[in-house]
Amino acid sequence: MNRTYYGKLIFELSKPGRVGYSLPKNEYEGYSLADLGATLSRQTKTILPECDELTVVRHYTNMSNNNFGVDTGFYPLGSCTMKYNPKLNEELCQLPGFNLHPMTPAKYAQGSLKLYDEVQRTLAEIAGLSRFTLNPYAGAHGELTGLMVIRQYHMSRGDMARTKIIVPDSAHGTNPASAAVCGLQIVEVKSLADGTVDVEALKPLLGPDIAGMMMTNPNTLGLFERQIPEIARLVHECGGLMYYDGANLNPMLGVCRPGDMGFDVMHINLHKTFSTPHGGGGPGSGPVGVRKGLEQFLPNPQVITKAPNALKDSNNPLSPTAYDLHCDDESLGYISFFLGNFGIIIRAYAYLLSLGKENIPMAGKLSVLNANYIKESLRSHYLLPIDTVCKHEFVFDGLREEYGGDHHSPDHVTTLDVAKRLLDYGFHAPTIYFPLLFHEALMIEPTETESKDTLDDFIAVMKRIAEEAKADPQLLKTAPHDTPVRRMDDVKAVKEPKFTYKML
C-alpha cells in the first residue's frame, strides 16, 4: 500500500473536449434521438467527467494504491472469513463462453446450467442437505430467502399462525433485520455466560406461533453449540424449522454438517467459505439449501436436470437439452433478476474443484488450528473471557489490565485504539465491539490460507502494541500514524453529510 494519499476525484481531472472511448460510425440514416421530443428527453446537463484513457487508468490505479486487500496483507477479521482469492478462479469466470444473455434458451446455455447444478450438488453434499438455490446475491439475501422458504412451508400447510422467529441475543444484527423484512416478529432467546444458547430459556418460548429458529454454529464467539441436537429436537417438536446462518461454516467443513446437526434451511456465503473475492462490499453470493421435502419452496427459476438418459449426453453440446430452467408453482416466488451472481458461482466452482474431497475438510481444520494458535499465543497480553478450545474464531475482551488500564477508567486504552494501531503495522483490524457480550470485544478469525509465519508476525505486533499501550498510551489513542490518511471525523460526516461531489 502506498502511504502517500492520492485523494483526487475524477471530476477534478475533467477537461471539456476529452474522450476516453471509441464507438463505430453511425451507419444508419434518418434516425435521430431528437425525434423523441422534448417531453421525453433529458433537459439537464450531466456532470459526467471528460477524460482521456490514460487519465482514467492513472486515476484508478493511484486510488488502488491507497487500498488494503487480502493480496496486500492479513485480515484477522472475525466472522468475515477473509481467505485468499485464487487467481485461477478470476481467469476462468471471464471465459467468453459464459457471457450469455440471461434469456438465452436453455439449449444454448447447457454449460452454464450444468455448472450451476454441479455447484448446487456440491454444496448440498457439504451441507448435508438436499438441494440448493444459487440465486441469492449475498449472505443477507440468502437469510431473507431462507426465511421466506420457512414461511412458505408453513403457509403451504395452511398454518398461518407461525409468525415469530427465535433469534439468540448474541446473533449478528442481520438476522433480526432479515426476519423483519420477511415479516416475522423476533423473539430473542438469552445466551449463557459463554454465549451459547440457554436451552432452559428457550423452552418457554416454543409454541404454535413459532415459525423457526435462526442460529449459527459455531456461534459468534467461535464456540460450538453442543446442545444443538437438543435445541433442534425442541424446535422441531413444536413444529418449527431450524435455520443455519452459514457465516461460520468454514471450520465445520467435512467434520460436522448443518444437516446432520438438525438444521432444515441454511445459507452459505460463497465470498467467505468458498474463496470468492469480497470486492470491498460485494458482489457476493448467498446460496440457500434445504432439507428433503422443502425443495419445491426454493425461489424460481430453478435449474433442473431432465431424464437421466439425457444427462448422460450432457457432455455432447449437440445432445438434447439435459438441463433446463423450471418454475415451480409451490415456490416462494422470484428473489432475483435471474440466477444470481453467476460470475461468482463460476469462481466458487473452480475453488471447489481445486480443493476436492481431501482439502475441503483441511481448510476448516487449519482455520481452527490458526485461531487457537493466536488465542493461546496472545492470552498473556489480552483478556480471554472464555477459556476453551475455539473453532475458527475467538474473542478477546480488550487488553489485560496491566497493559491497557482498568476498563472502567475513561482513559484506558480501548479496543478501537489497538485496532487503529494495527493498521500502522500493515495488518487489517480485527472485528471490534462485536459480539456485544463484551465491552471491549476484539474478534479474531485467521483463515487457513495464512501461514504460521504471518501469524507469528501478527502475534509479535499484537504484543508490541500491548507494550506500547503501557508505555505510551497516547501513541495508540492517536493511531494510525503511518497510513495514507489519519482517523476520520465521523461526527462531521453525519452532521454535515456530503454524499456527492456536488455537495462538497
Partner: protein, 461 residues
C-alpha cells in the same frame, strides 16, 4: 476413511504438511502450533462436538484437481454454451465495455478488500463509491445515491419498502404492470412476505393507464407509486403530472429506469420523482448470464434516513485532509437490527468501480453517442423487420432501443430457427402470445442486422 486422523499431519500426507497450494502449513508448523495449543492432533480441536452428529466418512465429492484439470473442466463447460448474436434486452443489454474497465477491475487491491469500515486503509474503495454515488445521483437527477443494491429488481423492491417506511401509516404501494416482468416478480415476492399491499396498475395501449392510477391515488391511502421508463415493451412512457398527483395525496413516486437511458431520457428528477431505482448493467457491465450486475437506488436528501444500504460521505481526517468514510451507519442492520430500513449489507460494491470507470471514459459525449447508436440500430431493425412482411406493429408508442412486434405466424418457431443460425431475436412478450420484445445496441452493426433480416425473409412461418 480418514475420519479420525490422529497424527498431526493428515492421512496419506504424513511428514509433508498440508501440501496444497492454498495452504501454507508444513508438517513442522502444524506440530509446533499444536504444541502451543496443547492438543495432540487437529481432530482433538473438535473433541467437544458430539460424535453422533459428526460426519464419519469422506465427503462424497471428486478428488482434488490440478490447475490444468480445473481449467480444462471449466473451459469445456464454457464450450457447451453457444453465445448468440444478441437482439434481446428485457433488463440485460449487450453494450460495449471499454477494455480499461475490466483491466482496472482486475486490480486486486480493490477486488480482494473488505467492506471499507477501516477508512484509513480503504480510501480507494471509498473514493470510487463516492464517485459512483455522484454519477448515479447526477444521471437520475436526484440528490443522493446509496453504494449499490443487488440488482434492478431488488432495488425496486427496496424502493417499495422505503415508501412504506416513509409513509408510516400507509401500507399500499402501486406498481405499473408495464414494468419489466422480472422486476415485477421480485417486487411481488417482497410485498407478499413484508406484508405490503401491492396493487398492480393496469395498462392501456402499451403504457400504464394513468386514469386507473389517478383513481387509486385519490383514495389517500397509497404510500407510493412505482412507474418505469422505458417499459417492458420498450415504450418510453409520458409520466407528466404523476408526481404532482402523488405529492398532492402525500404519496411518493419512484421511477425504474434502465441506467444507460438516463443520459438521454427525461430523468426521474425531472419527472419530480422521489426515488429512482433500476439496474445499471447497461453501463458497460457484461451480460454474464444475469450477474453480477448492480442495482441503483437514488433519492432526495430528505429521505436519506429511510434509504437502505451503505452510504459513503466526505469528511476530514485528523490532518484536515478531505477523506471519505462510511456514514449514516445507525440506519443499518448491524446497529439497528430489526428496526433497520433493510437487511442489506454486502451488496454489489465492486460493481461501483465498473460504473465509475465506464462513465469516466464515456463522458457526456460518449453516453449521448451510445444512445444515439442504439436508437438508430433499433429503429433500423424495427423498420427492416416490418418490411419483411412477417411482423406487424402492436403499439404506436415511441421507443429508445427496444420494441415489441407481433410475428405473423409462429413466433416460437421463428425464434428457435434463428437461434439455430446464431441469433437471439428478442424475448417472448409475457401475456402477449405471438409477440417478441426485441432490443439492439451500438454493438450490433448493420451487416449483422441485414444478415438476420435476410434469413427471416427466407423463412417459412
Amino acid at each position: 476413511m480418514p475420519t479420525n486422523v490422529t497424527s498431526p499431519s493428515l492421512q496419506g500426507r504424513a511428514g509433508s504438511g498440508s501440501s496444497f497450494k492454498y495452504f501454507p502449513h508444513t508438517a513442522d508448523d502444524i506440530q509446533q502450533m499444536l504444541d502451543v495449543i496443547g492438543v495432540r492432533s487437529l481432530d482433538d480441536l473438535y473433541a467437544e462436538i458430539p460424535e453422533e452428529i459428526k460426519l464419519h466418512r469422506e465427503l462424497n465429492l471428486p478428488s482434488e484437481k490440478s490447475e490444468e484439470e480445473v481449467r480444462c473442466i471449466i473451459q469445456q463447460l464454457a464450450a457447451q454454451n453457444k453465445p448468440l448474436v444478441c437482439f434481446a434486452g428485457a433488463g440485460s443489454y449487450d453494450h460495449y465495455t471499454p477494455s480499461v474497465v475490466p483491466f482496472l477491475a482486475s486490480r486486486s487491491e480493490f477486488s480482494t478488500s473488505y467492506t471499507p469500515y477501516q477508512a484509513e486503509i480503504s480510501q480507494g474503495t471509498l473514493q470510487y463509491i463516492f464517485e459512483y454515488q455522484t454519477l448515479m445521483a447526477d444521471l437520475t437527477g436526484m440528490d443522493i445515491s446509496n453504494a449499490s443494491m443487488y440488482d434492478g429488481s431488488t432495488a425496486t423492491a427496496e424502493a417499495m419498502m422505503m415508501m412504506v417506511a416513509a409513509a408510516k401509516k400507509r401500507n399500499r404501494v402501486l406498481i405499473t404492470k408495464t414494468i419489466q416482468p422480472a422486476v415485477l416478480a421480485v417486487v411481488r415476492t417482497y410485498a407478499k412476505f413484508h406484508g405490503v399491499d401491492l396493487v398492480e396498475v393496469d395498462e392501456k395501449d402499451g403504457t400504464m393507464d394513468k386514469d386507473v392510477a389517478r383513481q387509486l391515488i385519490e383514495k389517500d391511502d397509497v404510500a407510493g407509486l412505482i412507474v418505469c421508463q422505458p417499459n417492458r415493451y420498450g415504450i418510453v412512457e409520458d409520466l407528466t403530472g404523476l408526481a404532482d398527483l402523488c405529492h398532492e395525496h402525500k404519496a411518493l413516486m419512484a421511477v425504474n429506469t434502465m441506467a444507460s437511458a438516463l443520459a438521454v431520457l427525461k430523468t426521474p428528477g425531472e419527472w419530480r420523482a422521489d426515488i429512482a431505482c433500476g439496474d445499471a448493467q447497461s453501463l458497460g457491465i457484461p451480460m454474464g448470464y444475469g450477474g453480477p450486475y448492480i442495482g441503483y437506488l437514488c433519492t432526495k436528501e430528505a429521505l436519506v434516513r429511510k434509504m437502505p444500504g451503505r452510504l459513503v460521505g466526505a469528511t476530514t481526517d485528523a490532518d484536515g485532509r478531505r477523506t471519505f468514510v462510511l456514514t449514516m451507519q445507525a440506519r443499518e442492520q448491524h446497529i439497528r437490527r430489526e428496526k433497520a430500513t433493510s437487511n442489506i449489507c454486502t451488496a454489489q460494491g465492486f460493481m461501483c468501480l465498473y460504473v465509475a470507470a465506464y462513465l469516466s471514459l464515456m463522458g457526456p459525449k460518449g453516453m449521448q453517442e451510445v444512445n444515439e447508436l442504439s436508437y438508430a440500430s433499433a429503429h433500423y431493425l424495427h423498420d427492416a423487420l416490418l418490411k419483411t412482411g412477417k411482423f406487424e406493429e402492436v403499439f404506436k408508442g415511441p421507443f429508445l432501443n427496444e420494441f415489441t412486434l407481433r410475428v405473423k405466424g409462429d413466433a416460437k418457431v421463428l425464434r428457435e430457427a434463428l437461434a439455430e443460425k446464431g441469433y437471439l431475436l428478442g424475448v417472448p412478450t409475457l401475456f402477449m402470445p405471438g409477440c417478441l420484445t426485441i432490443a439492439s445496441t451500438e454493438r450490433r452493426n448493420r451487416q449483422e442486422i441485414d444478415n438476420m433480416v435476410e434469413l427471416i425473409k427466407e423463412m417459412a412461418l
